[in-house]
């Protein structure tokens, strides 16, 4: 393709380049904005009561705005012996509990 030079007098290469560059950039912005807005519309319609995740700049509270819970105060029920075992001793308990169970069978 060759464009006659007298037609170019009204348009410089730079201004056409600017137009093309602007088309590229604005279509990218439009793409991002349309993805983010429709994502948000979908979330809002699916979960109308959804609140944003909590952010603590000090790094002390979790995404629900709660402080860390001591693991020693949480108990799990052991399926093998049916006792409640402190969460931070669960692995050690299993080692003993499971081997005892194996010996029994």
């Amino acid at each position: 393709m060759t464009v006659a030079s007298e037609k170019m007098s009204s348009l410089t290469i730079v201004s056409v380049s600017e137009t093309i560059y602007n088309n590229l950039i604005t279509s990218m912005v439009q793409d991002i904005v349309s993805r983010i807005t429709s994502q948000k519309q979908l979330l809002d319609s699916r979960y109308p009561d959804m609140s944003p995740l909590f952010y603590d700049p000090q790094g002390k509270l979790d995404i629900h705005g709660q402080p860390k819970i001591q693991e020693s105060s949480i108990y799990f029920r052991c399926n093998n012996c049916d006792r409640d075992i402190s969460a931070n001793r669960y692995a050690a308990h299993l080692e003993r509990c499971m081997s005892r169970g194996n010996r029994k069978t």
Partner: protein, 99 residues
């Protein structure tokens, strides 16, 4: 509209069409997208979009775009803009018969 305006618009459309057909539009567009991703522009624009939706309490595409677009265009680094402009200009010098 004067006839020269019309000619200018036709010429612009003709150049864009050739740019697309030759595969150069896609090549330049991909390169621009990669640069913008690398320099964190994509993430920044996403962040501004989320903040605008929050501040204006809207998810309406045109309303959000109107606020985000000028800022996003300004946020492109001059390195990236210059590089892409160079490529487009080089392509145009190739096809346009200047005197």
């Amino acid at each position: 509209m004067t006839s020269t305006d019309k000619e200018a618009m036709d010429l612009r459309a003709q150049i864009q069409q050739y740019l697309v057909e030759s595969g150069n539009y896609e090549r330049i567009s991909n390169k621009l997208a990669q640069r913008l991703l690398d320099e964190g522009w994509m993430e920044q624009v996403k962040k501004i979009t989320r903040e605008t939706m929050e501040d204006d309490n809207t998810t309406n595409f045109s309303e959000v775009l109107k606020r985000v677009e000028p800022e996003a265009v300004n946020l492109v680094s001059s390195n990236t803009k210059d590089e892409i402009m160079q490529q487009i200009k080089a392509f145009l010098y190739d096809i346009v018969d200047t005197q």
